[in-house]
Amino acid sequence: MPHEQIPTWTRDPAVRGSLTPLYGSKYRLIDGHLHVVNFIQETPGGQNLLEHMDRANVGKAVIFGLPVSKMWTSYDREGPDYYLASDSPCYYYAYTDVIVAEMVRALPADQQERLYPLICGFNPTDGYALRHIERLYNQYPNIWSGIGEVLLRHDDLTAFTFGENARANHRALWPVYQFAADHDLPVLLHQNITSVTKSDHPVYLWELEEAVAEFPRTRIVFAHCGMSRRVNVPFYYQMVDRLLAQYPNLYVDYSWIIFDVVICPDGKPSADWLSLTEKYSDRICLGSDLVARFERMGPELQRYDVFLDQLSEQARVNLCWNTAEKLYGDNKGKVHALPVLAIPEWKVTNP
């Protein structure tokens, strides 16, 4: 989830101004991480989204709402429009999924195919979380392409959100992971690897690993590789390398500040990350992580070009398109069309 001051939006007088970034990346891609509502659950709408996708050279997008809504409390003179805009709390807002579904349904069929909507509007600490997902699949059977972005450990947002702290290994998520495994659906998770003041080691990484290890048939996408603003640890590259090596069901997306902080600091691609990306390009996708401000899509994605330029053709295509397509494509209607994973019948042949 991006802060409103996304680094690419900061002006740099040393850089020559140009309208080029508005046209997006020179490589046609799938935006693998895009919130279509903001923190007060407002959206510019599907038509606006598609217009900006076209302008920014984005072929498809993985879209979702926001599972929490920011309260306008009695002490907020101005209505807050971002989760950090005031001290007011956030609360789980299930209707976000209906907003997304209806936004997609209002589009022509050929345009709907360009969008991969995910379900996110449930409380991940509620044992009834799966009921919400099932309900949404029953109500809109041919809309959804998976589950996410589930907001778990998220520094200030965790503190602002009513109720128990959400985490990747919360037992309320076990049925959700199982459902995703049964129906071969991806689950996109936001789980900070550590807390804001613990920068010497990743204190929350084990929670993610427990879930990933416990559900090897569930494809889990680790949003922003677990990074948030003020959340960082040493050996980041080695950590992501180990995770991808150890868990074949784990995927990551490069989005938001992970790119500017460690992958391409000061606009210079890190050799280590280039090497890691070559090795695991079929498990990495790219995203803008915009929160509804679709007009920013071009500059947000264009900044990846400097990194993409240095990848092999195959790795680049994987990042830009193939990985996201493999994860999210062909999932619509799956829950009702495909039988639940069949377990071979237990038969003792030599009693």
């Binding site: 002006r11 101004g17 140009s18 302008r55 007009e295 071009g298």
Partner: protein
């Protein structure tokens, strides 16, 4: 949605919304702000149509270009801002006197009057303007309009709260002591007004009351306690003396 072209270095993009304008200004790194605004000048009021739009674009501009934008929008600013609370929020976000003054001038008397409909709204606007801009706000609204907003002492005290000491004295003088005193109907009104004023101006106010008048105004021990507890020590001492009451000390009740 109607879109309007901007062309920089032979590249052209269409701009239909304030959000699109803001991102164009950003990718141009602030090097073409005035050029873009000038190209769009005839259409700015079609692109910037509501308060959020104005904030979005303002955040991308330097003070000089903010001034240019306000002048370009002119009286359309009233329609864009819609209500006083948004003017308040906008003023809160501006840090240059010159920009605030340009905004107020662009709104003009009619514009300000159509936005500011209550004393509370005026107070919140005054909260975010200082010095010359304070004066200009009151001057543009006009003395009679400010009088009309001040329906009682609570209204007047709200307006005074947004001004510095000098400006408070000046406004009271302009409104006239007779008018101000006429708004004070009881001890609570007096408390509100005294709380809004620094001790020196409070003293000037209190000198207009005789002892009997003050006793009649405050009326009873409960309202006296209410008033006393809300005054600064110097004001409390002054009014206690004026009423001829015995000064109490903080620990006197312990005896």
């Amino acid at each position: 949605m109607t879109q309007y072209p901007i062309t920089i270095d032979k590249q052209t993009v269409q701009i239909g919304t304030a959000a699109e304008l803001a991102v164009a200004l950003d990718v141009l790194q602030g090097q073409y702000d005035r050029v873009v605004l000038t190209q769009l000048q005839p259409h700015l009021s079609q692109i910037i149509t509501k308060p959020g739009d104005l904030f979005t674009v303002m955040k991308s501009l330097s003070a000089d270009d903010q001034v240019f934008l306000f002048q370009a929008l002119g009286t359309n600013l009233v329609t864009i801002l819609q209500e006083a609370s948004r003017l308040r929020d906008l003023l809160a976000a501006l840090s240059e006197d010159e920009v605030e003054i340009t905004l107020l001038q662009a709104l003009g008397r009619e514009g300000l009057r159509s936005l500011i409909l209550t004393a509370e709204e005026l107070s919140e606007v005054l909260e975010w303007v200082y010095g010359q801009a304070d004066e200009l706000t009151l001057e543009l609204l006009g003395l009679e309009y400010v009088r009309n907003l001040s329906r009682d002492a609570i209204d007047l005290s709200a307006i005074l709260r947004g001004l510095d000491g000098e400006a408070q004295s000046r406004l009271i003088d302009q409104l006239g002591w007779e008018f101000c005193l006429g708004l004070v109907r009881n001890g609570r009104d007096l408390a509100y007004l005294l709380r809004a004023l620094p001790p020196a101006v409070s003293e000037r106010l209190l000198t207009h009351y005789g002892q009997d008048e003050l006793f009649r105004l405050i009326g009873n021990s409960r309202d006296w306690a209410y008033l006393y507890q809300r005054l600064e020590p110097a004001e409390a001492d002054f009014i206690t003396h004026k009423l001829g009451l015995e000064q109490t000390r903080r620990n006197s009740h312990a005896a």
